[in-house]
């Protein structure tokens, strides 16, 4: 090896410090969530004394946690389903040659330049006109198709050999069957990327639900978290238990599918 042992030690040292900084916030919030007594006691303890899970139980009583969870799951499910199906359809259409294909591509690419935050006022008015305020569909609709994910599908579909598709046609498969039986099974990584990105974007979405849901019963987890913060800020560690419970699914998905995750997010970079 060319590299000297000293430099290796230094590198590990630097990275351990970086990781420490990245992990301390997690530790601190978990510690607080299982701390028994007054969380505002000074000096705070570095280790939780007599750790317990009461705060995690409290969450269910303080707020309609189950309802928020249900809403979040439904909205994410609609968004994921929309992305997997609609994006695949659009991507398949884009693998074909047709008049105006260039303009459609250009349209998609220019849509990528419009950040969602720059559309909120009219998007709210449009959703109100459609009568979708305070509905699951209204919450999920803007997230149901994403341009980045269409291009991820398109690249995967184009990698499937044309001869395979032709053979399938000769065997009498219809367009729909070609997609379902040939293209989709051969593009599993693209499907995984679509699922993961759609899940993360819809699960974490805050601004859009904040705008279009006025009724507490339709609110999703991030909104519940923000409400909890404004109502019960000074009382309990339950807020931090709530935060941990909301973060857990994303961390779980991340640890399960790290590779797809990172690839998806890097290719979805400009979505922001």
């Amino acid at each position: 090896m060319r590299t000297k042992p000293l430099s290796i030690v230094l590198r590990h040292g630097a990275l351990v410090i970086v990781c420490f900084i990245m992990l301390v916030p997690f530790y601190w919030v978990i510690k607080t969530s299982i701390t028994n007594e007054n969380i505002y006691a000074y000096p705070p303890r570095l280790l939780p004394e007599a750790p317990h899970l009461f705060n995690y139980v409290d969450v269910w009583y303080f707020i309609p946690f189950a309802r928020y969870l249900l809403n979040s799951v439904i909205v994410s499910a609609i968004a994921v389903a929309g992305n997997v199906v609609f994006n695949a359809m659009a991507a398949y259409a884009l693998t074909k040659h047709f008049v105006g294909k260039q303009s459609v591509m250009l349209l998609f690419l220019s849509c990528m330049l419009v950040p969602f935050q720059a559309t909120i006022i009219p998007a709210y008015l449009i959703t109100a006109k459609l009568g979708l305020l305070n509905t699951y569909l209204g919450l999920a609709l803007p997230l149901m198709s994403t341009i980045v994910c269409i291009f991820i599908y398109k690249a995967a579909f184009e990698a499937v050999p044309q001869s395979l598709i032709d053979a399938a046609r000769v065997d009498g498969l219809k367009e729909r069957q070609v997609i379902l039986r040939i293209l989709m099974p051969l593009s599993k990584p693209a499907v995984a990327t679509n699922v993961i990105l759609a899940f993360i974007w819809s699960w974490n979405a805050f601004l859009w639900p904040l705008i279009i849901t006025r009724e507490p019963i339709m609110q999703t987890l991030p909104l519940g978290l923000a409400r909890f913060l404004s109502y019960l800020e000074d009382t309990t560690g339950a807020l931090y238990a709530f935060a941990v419970m909301v973060l857990a699914p994303s961390i779980f998905v991340f640890l399960m599918a790290q590779k797809e995750f990172i690839r998806g997010l890097t290719s979805g970079a400009t979505k922001g």
Binding site: R11, H12, A14, L15, V18, C19, M22, L23, V24, P25, W28, V29, T32, Y42, P43, P44, F86, A90, A93, L94, F98, V104, L107, C111, V114, P115, F116, Q117, A118, T119, I120, I121, P122, A123, L125, I126, L141, S145, I147, F151, N204, F206, L207, I211, P222, L225, L229, A243, V246, L247, S250, I251, L255, Q258, I262, L265, T266, A269, T270, G272
Partner: protein, 310 residues
């Protein structure tokens, strides 16, 4: 008449027509969503910004009145613009830091993938929860930051980070950087891995020192990745609504107000949709201009090809 000579099937049954119909049907759902939530809002914003309008009143042409108010009378607009630019100014430091981490992780170091995962994990998390975590870290009594500062004897009284006019903005920026730095690192790592190793070998043979290799080979080849990071940094500077909303609500005063929170407050707090639309138009143009500048700085159409690769 042409149709009859060519074939006997009527036009609606011909393959070409069917193909076009198929393509149209398949594109329809996505196109409809993008039309409703990207294109139409953009145009509507533009129209609204030249009107006096509220949901209960008929529209009246306003000319440039809304824009005049933004630039001449709205102090909060200028304050939030300054704040956004402070966010933008912090991005290069964050990117440099991320580059440092990426260089450390890019080697054949044992456990590099574990380090990578730990640095990255904060990025895909819900910003609202991240805001709550950081708010707690900054807390005067229960927060670890004040506790650490006091234990180290650096301060005698706790610093109310998020309630102070001086510290609130930097504090929020630190939280934002903490969340996004892993993402910068991954992008730069992708860039580093695409640098052909034989360039370094050739340079080493020629006796080029390591720092010069970094300066002459690595950095120029990373240009598109750096540009991508810069674009994300700019975008976040204008749009990180969730963190601000949770941590400070734009306060104290308007010390941490960003354009997006200002738009939200005027639009949905004061129901001034017309004025909020004008603010959005200004924000959008600023974003495009800054992105264009970053692109120029990176030298041409950098970054364009980098987005699809991973």
């Amino acid at each position: 008449m042409n149709t009859r000579t060519r074939s006997f099937t009527p036009w609606y049954q011909r393959k070409r027509t069917r193909d076009i119909a198929l393509v149209a049907c398949f594109l329809l759902p996505s196109l409809a969503i993008f039309f409703l939530y990207r294109i139409l809002p953009l145009l509507w914003n533009l129209v609204l910004s030249f009107e006096y309008w509220s949901p209960l009143k008929p529209a009246k042409f306003a000319g440039l009145d809304q824009y005049r108010e933004i630039f001449l009378e709205d102090d909060v607009f200028w304050q939030s613009l300054t704040n956004s630019l402070a966010f933008v100014a912090a991005a290069p430091f964050a990117i440099a830091l991320a580059l440092g981490i990426a260089l450390l992780v890019n080697s054949d170091l044992k456990g590099a993938s574990v380090y990578r995962a730990i640095v990255f994990i904060s990025y895909p998390l819900m910003s609202v929860a991240v805001g709550i975590i950081w708010k707690w870290l900054y807390d005067e009594r229960g927060g670890i930051i004040n506790y650490a500062l006091r234990s180290a004897g650096l301060v005698t009284k706790p610093i109310p980070f998020l309630q102070s006019f001086d510290y609130a903005l930097p504090s929020v920026i630190v939280a934002e950087v903490w969340q996004v730095i892993g993402f910068y690192m991954i992008i730069l790592l992708t860039g580093l891995q695409s640098v052909p190793p034989h360039l370094y070998e050739a340079a080493s043979v020629d006796g080029v020192p390591r720092w010069a290799q970094f300066w002459r080979i690595t950095l120029p080849l990373l240009r598109s990745s750096l540009f991508l990071c810069a674009v994300i940094g700019i975008l976040n500077s204008f749009t990180s609504f969730d963190l601000i909303y949770v941590m400070t609500g734009g306060g104290p005063g308007h010390a941490t107000e960003l354009l997006v929170t200002h738009i939200y407050k005027t639009g949905f707090g004061q129901t001034r949709f017309d004025y909020a639309a004008a603010l959005t138009v200004v924000q959008f143009i600023l974003l495009l201009a800054l992105t264009w500048l970053a692109n120029r700085a990176a030298g041409g159409n950098a970054g364009a090809h980098d987005t699809g690769r991973a």
